[in-house]
Symmetry: D3
Subunit: 193 residues, 6 copies
């Protein structure tokens, strides 16, 4: 597909600083392709490093939230921000991590109607509030999380993921970041044994 993946120049891999290139090659090795977010943001190596360091600190860490739950926060808030790249790319990761081919499309359109337990529904209520009206957040919002068994450290995780993708959605919308075609089908078809 020859459609541009960014409004900005996309650097050649060989022209990139060693650490940035290594990171990109590692993800290509693992995924079989290079997600466009890596190529688009590599236009600014210093920002690239901070972006992925932040991303990994939030998305790859241990903690009270499962990895699928983290991706669910990304998909729901990115849907609210109408960010095509993040909904499509993280929708794929959510399907894989949740081993559920349906949940990403459900959460992207309207998480209130998704097949998720009330714990996750409350988690997404909170994440959406961070994404869309953080200025009204108060104790009652944290209480609602606690009633579902979330710790305050979990609350930080939820808020920080919603906040980080507030940044990410805006950069993707600004750059016109195009989702790779590969993402659309990932995690939809059960693998044969």
């Amino acid at each position: 597909m020859s459609l541009p993946i960014s409004r900005f120049p996309v650097p050649e891999l060989k022209s990139l600083p060693e650490d940035v290139r290594a990171r990109i090659l590692a993800v290509q090795e693992k995924s079989g392709f290079i997600p466009n977010v890596f190529l688009v943001l590599a236009h600014r190596p210093e920002e690239f490093r901070a972006f992925f360091a932040y991303h990994d600190a939030l998305m790859e860490k241990e903690g009270g939230l499962t990895k699928a739950e983290r991706e669910m926060i990304v998909v729901a808030t990115s849907g609210a921000n109408q960010c095509q790249y993040c909904v499509v790319a993280h929708g794929a990761i959510l399907r894989i991590r949740a081993k559920n081919p349906l949940v990403a499309d459900q959460v992207a359109v309207n998480y209130r109607k998704a097949d998720i337990p009330s714990r996750q529904r409350v988690m997404l209520d909170f994440a959406m509030r961070v994404a869309l009206e953080s200025h009204v957040l108060g104790d009652a919002d944290l209480e609602a999380l606690r009633r579902q068994g979330f710790t305050d450290e979990d609350a930080w995780d939820i808020a920080a993921i919603a906040a980080f993708f507030a940044l990410s959605n805006r950069m993707a919308n600004f750059t016109g970041m195009r989702p790779n075609d590969e993402f659309y089908l990932m995690g939809r078809v059960p693998k044969e044994k």
Copy 2:
């Protein structure tokens, strides 16, 4: 899957009036399954008849819009209304009619970023205005359509589809209408020859 498809009782096929049952059996014959909208709305046969008569008058007619374009209007406005059933079900139909496995997800999240020609982008600008702020519609909106080659009859089609799904989205959101699992994968995997 045993999750309920509606907040309301879903009638048995055999208990339905003959014409309603015939319509449902015909779609089952054609699609291989019964889309849940037929079963959910059959709770009220008289409304069912009017709903599908209206639907067919708009979606199955000849005219200046292709069938894929009609479905595109449904997907974009249903995304804006956060209607899970319509995005998932009509997303499937859009993929099939457009013979394009990517366009439905793109249009559902943010049609401004979709891989569509400017004609369709302007068509969706107009449809979204009908869906979200019809009280401000004026001559300038129709002029924008004409500049893309749409006739005023095409404008009626676009407006009427957006208006009909304003109804449809609200009924689906109200009844908690669940999309059939079959829709999620339809039109995503190219058929082998």
Copy 3:
């Protein structure tokens, strides 16, 4: 009055299909004039038939809501959608059906301030939610109706009327449908005996 009643051509009665013409003549016989919605929508006979079949299924049926209550839903939600035709025309019908010359103007501007019992206020809270934010509708909304004695079938009626006029308001706003002058005064002056 020679102002146009639609952006679109208005058909001559004699050029219309027999059933459409018969329907229009019947309403003229009953009301003494032809409400413009009939003439404007007759531009598309097939959609006309479905529209009025749907309308009658919702507005003329027996059930837990009085006919005045059904019109009240139309006036409140059409006011929110800034639909001049529906507020003026159904305001007239509401005055007549409720035998109350004041309630339509009250409900059109702000139903929270209208002289209506709390049952009707809760009914309109629900209808407005369907009209304006159906994606957040949940069990709590239905519970609020039940506490006022509404059955779930009544809830369907309320939702379906609000949903149908979501369609109707958009078509009226799109076509520039002009209310007949007759409507403005109907039901305002008590008939002498």
Copy 4:
């Protein structure tokens, strides 16, 4: 009608300061009844005096706007603010001043669809911007007025009326100010000669 006209105590005429009572008796003499706004605001005589001094300075003055145009601004912005008292009471005055039984209902619901010349439509565009988003007002808004022949003093009049009724609408909504029954029919029926 025994419904309360305010959440607050309504003073007896005889208990009011002389100037406030005189003002109220004068309006009663002229109109044949006492509009409730006078009785409701008389609860606070000092504010009453300032309110009506401001009102008269804007609504009774000579200038580039006709008195009907001034009332039109009141009705349009009060409709946007969902203020029942102001829409009903000033709707009556607008019908009388414009000698037009239809225009008030049209402007209250959606001024863009009213039977008014483009000069008045642009005037109301400006008034609505003052009412709803004055923080974005800029030179372009004043230019649009000038192109319709409005002077900058006319612009002040339009803005000041919209601003004054921003206050008035809020006080009416807060006090639960009830429109007098008399207003609903005023100006609707042509007087016989």
Copy 5:
């Protein structure tokens, strides 16, 4: 500073009616400078008189609210309306009346995060509702005030101040009223003894 303080002509003091000039000289005597609102509104002496009569009736009166609390309502609602003049000028007065150099900036940005007791937070919740959505105000809002010990007369004060500055903010935004440079630093630096 030679930047214009209004889009409109600013009258010379000597050209003003005696009472208007006297009022302006008195404030200059007291404050050491003439706040621009006096000069800008003096363009229309009759409106000037009503404006300041209203202002004084609300802001200078005795009652259940302290003068600092009255200014707090002005700053919070003017922040919501993005009115630069009122936030800067009344922020200065608030700092002085509350003898607190921080509270004005806090309240202007987000009163929910300000260092204020819950009584004042509830007062501002109510004021913001008057400012931004007075059409939904109901008994529950007054109950919330009563639970904090506010009387219904206090409620009128809060509502009337929010309503008056709804007017004031719109006039300041419309005229492009410029805050005097003096206001920015007032009340920030503790006076030496």
Copy 6:
């Protein structure tokens, strides 16, 4: 002042990883106090590192925007997001970098009314669009920047700063991050020579 600066535990400096502590001591050395954002975010050292690496990559770099302009973007978008910490802290930095004691308060309330050249006004129009509705960003927005002499790399800077503070504002609102008292007066009083 003993008010809490975060909902979360604030680490002791001595308990922090060496690099985090060094960074904090350096800012204390430079500013004379430790801005609370450092202490609040140090609760999560890994996120702290990414946050400040990102911050510095955007705010300390060379480029087409002055440092004052970068702070102006922060203040305007943080005002829109009602983030008290960022408005107060970056308002201080803006005053210092712009050597202008007034501009920060102006931009925080309503940048359209600030004493800034049209270049900066257009820059802030763009930044606000990124902050508040990035999903509609298109070529026309970039064109508007170019007409003011901004390069596309400048556009990235503007967008990235607005996006980064979308994150930052949400974290500050979530944690209840309290601005240090020192910020309020910084840059307001001209230094004596």
